[in-house]
Subunit: 717 residues, 2 copies
């Protein structure tokens, strides 16, 4: 079809044709939003990911992305039901790379891999078992595919070779052919859906980032956290009392470290594992007063819980009729696919916690792992299978709590152990127990392909160097968190790097206007605020295969090992972040095509090249695109509250003119959903003398206008 248009239609006519969706419908597919197609095979399950997430597609924003042709040769797609299972096939061109399939920790490029998508803790290898095994992939050719199933899907991401494929590779003779390939060329992504039917969605580009945007927007748009959610957070030891928590907040303030919210660990509950979801009166004798005091100190509170209910909880008897056949740590397992179960659960946390001003949750252990979760032979009262409940549990928990906060017109920003496709709009960040700094960065990159957020939290460290290196990354991530539930570590726990830590904590605070705007773009435009280089225009993948050295004894099939870029990423529109890990003093950074400048000095760094940097322990390398505009605020200890004015320092990098649209709203409520927000245009232009000048437009619709004085810094001279 693509070919046909190329021959017979002028570009103008083609555009016209695509603006009339019906005419462009490929057989078996219906365009349900501009650039979004759906196809149904067989009889899909009642429970799928999109309806578990309760998505509300952002149709307006999708319309703004404009029409696009169906991006895949439709005749090369195959969907069929075979013996009660559904087999899917989507073509792959030669040289095409694909990304996604959820929160992987080791790999970025997914072509040639096999995954069984299964919500689980991350067990050390990318086999599909992860906290968010999102069945969505995006192609380097600029389109995305989503399989809307709540089943464990087996994905063959370009491995199977069909006998009858027109592009089947030639046979080779391993006896004599030195180029014999253990993995011959495969021309398709194949998927096994263990159910009698499924819905599949295709998202158009034209760029890979556009395909991701459409996927996120169709899921409802990315989440917009409250402004305080982007500030600094500390999680305190599990048996802390309210007095100790208050002292912790005062210590941050006294020492000059920013702090926006504190997370309480299991000890806030009267029992945990399983949970009562009630305050422990010995450690927290007066929760309401405690929450108020903390708010006066400028600190919100986040509560750990898991969803497994103790027989001693006031919720127990009410939720019991809606629970599964198996227990988790002796707690009953609510069937959250039943709306009444969710309402019952909401009622408990609303009365005990939201009513006194609790701001969010860390929802633990919804992912697994298998050894303590319900088995796949468990039964649930909804009749949904244990597998389906497992795949959607994180979605339901996020949805349930977000709905409650929305009812209170107060945004939340919390932590979840699991999510899945369709969850982009949920204000939750995924975390886990793994503690590899390198893997954390790879996960941050992968989160951007899959409509989820991930935090490379910092927990403990062996040395000040490690502490600082991890902390630097955390400051360029969706949630700036120290998770001290076990170790009790403070930002100042390593005296040798105490000042450097403070500097980065404050830099995080300065970046809030930029980060908040980038999250607004996630919400309104679908652009992930943290994302891999492969979504960046001008980035050459640098994808090469390397033959693993070593003997045939060790590597009998002479398997090639791929090289992929998984240690640098984009934060928002302009910032390229390239962390160093413990022990490193120097590293290579791949700068995409276009001129790039040092974030700290404004100096020219390179253009479409690999540079080597030796930044010193006190710096994490960050680079800014030519013309990049980064709006920053003063280094406050708490993010501004609703109506609190803050001054802006607008930085410009490079020599090119630039434009940035700065988002603002009240920072806390859901009123932005009713239109109470503004986009200001920040513009840097060259005057007749060649000098750079900046301007910023007035706020519209935001009441009151929060921005005070504006100063300009042209970083590159």
């Amino acid at each position: 079809m693509k070919l046909m248009y190329a021959f017979f239609l002028t570009p103008f006519l083609a555009t016209l044709l695509f603006s009339i969706p019906l005419a462009a419908q490929p057989p078996g597919w219906s365009e349900i939003a501009p650039g979004v197609w759906k196809s149904t095979t067989g009889r899909p399950d009642d429970l799928d990911l999109f309806n578990a997430a309760g998505i509300k597609p952002a149709t307006g924003a999708l319309a703004r992305l404009g029409p696009a042709p169906f991006p895949i040769p439709v005749e090369k797609i195959s969907c069929e039901v075979v013996n009660g299972e559904t087999y899917l096939r989507f073509p792959l061109e030669k040289g095409e790379q694909i990304f996604g399939f959820g929160l992987n920790f080791k790999t970025v490029m997914q072509r040639g891999r096999i995954l069984q998508l299964h919500v689980d803790h991350y067990g050390g290898s990318d086999n599909g078992r992860t906290h968010a095994p999102v069945p969505f992939y995006v192609s380097g050719k600029g389109y995305g595919v989503f399989i809307n199933s709540s089943r464990y899907l087996t994905i063959y991401a370009g491995t199977g070779v069909r006998r009858d494929s027109p592009e089947a590779p030639e046979e080779q003779d391993r006896n004599t052919d030195k180029n014999w390939d253990a993995q011959p060329y495969s021309d398709a992504v194949e998927v096994l859906v263990p159910a009698g039917g499924v819905e599949v969605y295709v998202f158009a580009g034209p760029t890979p980032l556009d395909a991701v945007r459409r996927f996120n927007l169709y899921s409802g748009g990315g989440c917009l956290p409250p402004r305080w959610g982007l500030g600094f957070t500390q999680r305190v030891p599990t048996l802390y009392t309210s007095d100790q928590v208050e002292q912790e907040a005062r210590a941050f303030s006294a020492k000059g470290y920013p702090l926006d919210f504190i997370g309480l660990e299991p000890g806030w509950q009267s029992r945990s594992y399983p949970c009562t979801l009630e305050w422990d009166k010995s450690r927290y004798p007066d929760p309401a007063t405690f929450v108020t005091t903390m708010k006066e100190l400028g600190v919100h509170l986040n509560l750990w819980t898991n969803p497994y209910i103790s027989s001693l909880s006031p919720l127990y008897q009410k939720i019991l009729p809606f629970t599964g056949s198996h227990t988790v740590w002796g707690g009953v397992v609510p069937d959250l696919s039943i709306s009444e179960a969710r309402e019952t659960f909401k009622d408990q946390i609303s009365r005990s916690q939201l009513s006194i001003g609790i701001s969010g949750y860390k929802i633990d252990e919804s992912d697994g792992y298998d050894r303590w979760l319900w088995p796949d032979v468990a039964r649930f009262p909804s009749g949904n299978s244990a597998e389906q409940i497992r795949q959607t549990y994180g979605l339901f928990l996020q949805r349930m709590t977000m709905e409650l906060f929305r009812q209170n017109n107060s945004r939340t920003y919390g932590l979840t152990r699991s999510s899945n496709g369709g969850g982009a709009s949920f204000p939750y960040v995924i975390y886990n127990d793994n503690y590899s700094h390198e893997d954390f960065i790879t996960a941050l990159i992968n989160s951007g392909f899959s409509g989820v957020l991930w935090t490379p939290e910092v927990r403990s460290s062996k040395t000040g160097e490690e502490w600082l290196r991890r902390f630097q990354t955390v400051c360029f991530s969706p949630m700036a968190m120290i998770n001290a539930w076990s170790s009790g570590t403070k930002p100042w726990s390593f005296p040798d790097v105490e000042e450097e830590i403070k500097e980065y904590a404050l830099l995080r605070m300065q970046l809030i206007p930029y980060l908040y705007t980038e999250f607004a773009k996630y919400h309104f435009e679908g652009t992930p605020p943290f994302r891999g280089m492969n979504l960046e225009p001008g980035f050459d993948e640098g994808a090469t295969s390397e033959l693993k050295t070593g003997s045939l004894d060790d590597n009998p099939y002479l398997e090639a090992v791929r090289k992929e870029i998984k240690d640098q990423y984009m934060t928002g529109e302009y910032l390229l972040v390239a962390p160093l890990f413990t022990g490193q003093t120097t590293r290579e950074v791949i700068l995409p095509r276009g001129r790039w400048f040092d974030f700290y000095t404004g100096e020219y760094a390179g253009d479409g090249e690999i540079i080597t940097v030796t930044p010193g322990l006190e710096k994490i390398p960050v680079f800014v695109k030519d013309g990049g505009i980064v709006p920053m605020m003063m280094p406050l200890l708490h993010t501004p509250r609703t109506g609190e004015k803050y001054d802006l320092e607008i930085r410009h990098y490079g020599t090119a003119p630039g434009v940035y649209t700065l988002y603002d709203d009240d920072g806390e409520s859901f009123d932005y959903e009713k239109g109470f927000y503004s986009w200001r245009i920040i513009r840097v232009e060259t005057d007749k003398k060649g000098k750079l000048n900046g301007s910023i437009s007035k706020a519209e619709r935001v009441r009151p206008d929060n921005i005070g004085n504006v100063t300009w810094r042209f970083m590159t001279n």
Copy 2:
């Protein structure tokens, strides 16, 4: 039911009752052989493991094991079909340990583990993906359970905790309870069969070893290799020519190293990966003469192949109609569940190879791994699913080739990459590309629970120490193999241990009468010749839980780590083998209750205790039970041919009298199936003066009688 008998029946009446099977039938179960029950739930698949293996239960031998009561409280078993899947549950008592689930490499005790049984290469952890993921487990309480399914079964081996279980554990409060358990007590093995029905088998004891015996006998009895199969084997580099192979054999002989068969690697074929299954005429210009010459040198030949057929093979056009939708390395994949496909395949190898005297195969890559095997969305002409073909492929390959050798009345003994439940009678040993000496021993132990054989082959080593340590183990394993396909290593490649290697190679040859008899017991009585200590009477499991030390940061759920015995094993009736690994100079050995003696010196070693040994590099510790009788022969360079006489040295250990039944037959043909074999009684008794005296009965039925002179060695004074 057990309880009822205890109260109401005298032992005599109970025995009487059980000798009338029908009266003892537990509801839903039928006794199909003495101590073997079957239950059918739903509508099982047409293709299952037992019918893929084509088992012929050894009913006579099962009858000799005698009647036994149904070993599980039947009311605690649950089998039901739920939404097209089958859920099974079998009870577990407190303190009950279970073993099996196929060829695991890291673990022996399976309680508390979750596995998805899936034929695959072994990927580094025991998650159910292995070369022989046999759905059979044996309980320490003395019974076995087999799930006769060709599906990927998910096994919850005592992890799920049902809300309504009468033995559900008490809730704990992790906030304050130091004994909080991440894995609360579970009272059942639960299994998910992804099919609408299944057959389940229960095997009675009374001992765990009896349950294993019944399973093996129901599968047809263990394999009986030809005598030469237990001799020494070398696999030569892949591009060797017939001249080089002949030189290799002559070199072994000249240097005085035993050799019974040589394995040719892919280069014997005109093309490989995919395979033509035809000789390469440049490297093997006259295969028939070559095979004859080798036989004259006393050396049989084994041929590597995989089952994926090249378009250049004479087999290609004939097999094409019976092949699957996907290729492997460009080769077509025969659907071996179709009998015509097997016959076509057999015809090719019969004409090209068996007809000129080839003695066996190494059948490679029938296991996986996923990246190059057919995907689960592949289609096969039989209509069986790709999953089912995957689970049974190793069985069909073994069955097909064994049938061919049986037609020729010439036994074979070869290598396979995969097997499954029901394959005990196939004369194949499993191997893989993993190369951990420790894991190899654990696999050897696990092979004994599952009706498969495994070889801890030796391939290459960094040092003479490693070479010798690996080699010592190989000599006490089902196949004494050096796999030099890549490295070309010879037994004498490490001059510093050349003599010690020769000594063990010759010891292997001396042990042939004992090993051959132990294999005969595998065949006629079901007793695995190599097995773990947990099947040994008098062995205390030494199973303890240890809390992993370290911080909550590293181990947030405070998971207990189990201690299990996976580095010592039994070879045949009397020998306990305790290998040392590279770097070890000393180790602990657990001696079961009863007096044990050093194999080399006859000295007393201990009784029901843990001893520490420091054997020196030149020895692998081996211990013999009190009264143990080990018939040995002279250290020949080739095992005796049919009719060739050999002298016996019969060793006795300890101070107790003993009896051993020595097996013999022609060593090569299938005539033993028609009764042409003998069991001689070797008896050591104490005379009136307290002196030990030995006697051996005459051979019966074997023509001719192979045993020459008999000498006696009473090892313990």
